[in-house]
């Protein structure tokens, strides 16, 4: 969990696109790993298979897709954020504080995950949203979305103990389809405009 938190901070301060993708991939593997470690008692083959599929898709398939997208689009490696890196880190601290406050509201002994999990989950959700809003490239928006989904996955684990399988399946489906479609869209944007700067998609107003 602490690692998760650290990754969030790293992501906020990171200026290089490639490292950012690697970090996100690494973070995406963590919930699956955590799930396997925590539930030693009642492991079923199906359960293991599910965690493995999640980890493979989020940890290996997505990064490969995204790296390909960068290569094809010939993106510069800097992120050109709207909000500077220092300020982003400050935001991270604020988000952590906010998460602790929210977790106090949400936490009850009936939740199996413990309070720390809720804090980390909320903070991850905030980080994802922030990345989504504050960076210019279409690809970083996709990464923000993945981080957001990681947070939701954690929240599900923390809030609904022994999460019904359908819930997990839903999250996986969501991320997979979402990123897949966004990937195609990024490709089209690149072909149409010769760039993937979202701040130049500004012709529709009012």
């Amino acid at each position: 969990m602490i690692i998760f938190l650290l990754v969030n901070m790293f992501v906020l301060g990171m200026s290089r696109l490639r490292t950012l993708i690697r970090l996100t991939a690494f973070q995406s593997m963590l919930p699956g790993l955590y799930l396997l470690l925590e539930s030693r008692g009642h492991i079923t083959p199906f359960f293991v298979a599910f965690a493995a599929v999640t980890m493979i898709i989020k940890g290996i398939v997505f990064p490969i897709l995204l790296f390909k997208a960068i290569e094809r689009a010939k993106v510069k490696t800097e992120l050109e954020p709207y909000v500077g890196y220092g300020l982003s880190l400050l935001f991270g601290l604020a988000a952590a504080g906010l998460s602790i406050w929210i977790s106090g509201l949400l936490y009850s002994p009936a939740n199996t995950g413990g309070r720390l999990n809720i804090i980390v989950a909320m903070m991850t959700i905030f980080t994802g949203l922030f990345i989504l809003m504050s960076r210019k490239k279409a690809i970083t928006q996709v990464l923000g979305y993945i981080i957001l989904e990681n947070g939701i996955y954690l929240l599900g684990m923390a809030m609904v103990g022994g999460m019904p399988l359908l819930l997990e399946a839903g999250i996986l489906l969501d991320v997979f389809v979402g990123v897949f479609i966004m990937g195609i869209a990024v490709f089209h944007i690149n072909r149409q405009f010769d760039h993937i700067d979202v701040n130049e998609l500004n012709r529709l107003k009012g």
């Binding site: 949400l106 009850s108 957001l148 939701i152 022994g162 529709l204």
Partner: protein
């Protein structure tokens, strides 16, 4: 009940058929229409089988049908039939390959049917997610830069919105985590309706906020509406008709499903309903303001959708007879808005622009389309002989009865602004203008049907409400009001 699976399976089957390379726009369009027509008839069969039962449920109870979903299925079928018929004439001279479009069109039918038929709240959410992904590419049918921009905004904003809805779903379920072993049975709406009384209020409140923001993004409730005018204005007219006519309502449907659950958990304080009305009023006023300053015809119609979604939310939030009026309003909107997009779309094709300052003397181009455009705009502004006047009146009356004067004033204010904006604009289509007018256009048979049929229904419903329809909507409204403690907040 095995019939429940038909409206999901058939459209997927036809969607795949549409992909087979037959060559030729006409054949693809014919397939598209046949697919939708058969899927719609399967819904008709389903409703026929259901008649009389209180609740029909599938084997593993993931799918179900009650009065509320029957009503929504009926509206959806109508919107799809009309829009598909319109697509026939709209794309008639389209050169590009339409197979992918026909595929997505049929697939979106299945996705929306899944939302309406789901008893399982996660399955319902998956349905919404599917509609987002499927319809995103329909916006990009005309492969232009602005269409791509609209599609990207739609994807990002709605994906985040839908993710919020998922957080809301998780929180809602976790609110009941003290009640028995966690199992997939806890995800069923029918289970939640019985057991939500014992849920933890704090979590339920947080969950409802997330659900409202999340699904509200998809429904176009302000201030989460920003994707909507772009998507509506850039998508081909039949897609806009579908978006406005029913896609927004599928998202609203999810909020409506959670509204009574939340009220039960909170002991009927009217908290959730109040928030819903608040958002509704805000949308109404904001959209009214934007309508006044629009130049683009389709953008104006998009803002008018936000306005009407706002009115529906207000009606739903007021409870009691307001719920009935709100559903009736959804039906009317489902008729009037596609009609408006049909005629606007055709005029856009004929004039080559949606700029309202350049579309004029429409009567000389086509009497039929002018009747459609003017009639639908009159209806949308809430003018008297049309059915929308009655449904808005119903909501106003409910606000007076409930003594909610602030709501009443804001409601009337917003409706008046929109009325002035729309009527002022629509008059200019018919009169004025010295520029040369495009040559006369002869209307095809599908166009006559899609224009005159909704117009006639709107006029008839404005004067006389058939008893069977009253029963039909009444049963749907009873699901919402009946699940709320004390009937109404």
């Amino acid at each position: 009940m095995i019939w429940l699976y038909l409206p999901l399976g058939l459209p997927v089957f036809f969607a795949l058929i549409c992909l087979i390379p037959f060559n030729g726009t006409r054949r693809t369009l014919a397939l598209l229409f046949v697919g939708i027509a058969i899927s719609v008839s399967s819904i008709a069969v389903l409703i026929g089988k259901y008649e009389g039962a209180v609740l029909a449920i599938s084997g593993n109870s993931w799918l179900f049908l009650d009065g509320f979903s029957v009503f929504h299925l009926a509206v959806m079928s109508g919107v799809y039939l009309l829009s598909s018929l319109f697509a026939l004439s709209y794309f008639r001279n389209h050169d590009d390959d339409l197979r992918r479009f026909a595929f997505l069109w049929n697939l979106s039918f299945a996705a929306m049917a899944l939302v309406i038929l789901s008893n399982n709240v996660v399955l319902m959410w998956i349905g919404i997610e599917a509609t987002t992904v499927i319809t995103a590419f329909m916006i990009y049918t005309n492969r232009t830069g602005v269409a791509l921009e609209a599609m990207w905004k739609y994807l990002i904003i709605c994906s985040v919105g839908v993710a919020f809805a998922f957080i809301g779903t998780i929180l809602f379920i976790s609110a009941g985590s003290g009640l028995g072993e966690p199992s997939s049975g806890m995800l069923l709406w029918t289970w939640l309706r019985v057991n939500s009384v014992g849920f933890k209020p704090v979590l339920v409140k947080a969950a409802f906020i997330f659900l409202l923001i999340g699904y509200g993004t998809k429904a176009g409730i302000a201030p989460m509406h920003t994707w909507l005018p772009d998507a509506h204005s850039q998508a081909p007219a039949p897609v806009s008709a579908l978006f406005s006519g029913f896609l927004l309502n599928t998202a609203l449907y999810c909020i409506y499903r959670f509204l009574p659950l939340t009220e039960r958990a909170l002991g009927g304080t009217g908290w959730a309903a109040g928030i819903l009305s608040g958002f509704g009023l805000f949308s109404l006023i904001l959209a009214g303001g934007f309508i006044l300053f629009q130049r683009d015809l389709k953008r104006m119609l998009a803002y008018s959708s936000i306005e009407h979604i706002g009115i529906m939310c207000v009606g739903m939030g007021l409870g009691g007879a307001g719920v009935f009026a709100s559903l009736f309003h959804a039906l009317n909107h489902g008729l009037a808005k596609p009609l408006a997009f049909f005629s606007a779309g055709r005029f856009g094709q004929i004039y080559g622009t949606y700029d309202m300052d350049r579309i004029h003397n429409t009567g000389e181009v086509s009497k039929l389309l002018t009747a459609g455009l003017f009639g639908s705009l009159l209806a949308l502004s809430g003018a008297a002989p049309f059915a929308m006047f009655l449904s808005e009146l119903g909501i106003v009356r409910r606000a007076v009865e409930g003594g909610k004067w602030a709501v009443l004033v804001l409601l009337l204010l917003g409706a008046t602004i929109a009325f002035v904006g729309i009527i002022g604009r629509s008059l200019s289509f018919i009169f004025k203008g010295s520029d040369p007018v495009p040559s006369k256009v002869k209307a095809s048979f599908p166009e006559v049907v899609v224009t005159l049929l909704p117009l006639a229904i709107l006029l008839i419903l404005g004067v006389f409400m058939p008893p069977f329809l009253k029963d039909f909507i009444g049963r749907a409204a009873a699901i919402v009001t009946g699940s709320m403690p004390g009937g109404a907040p």
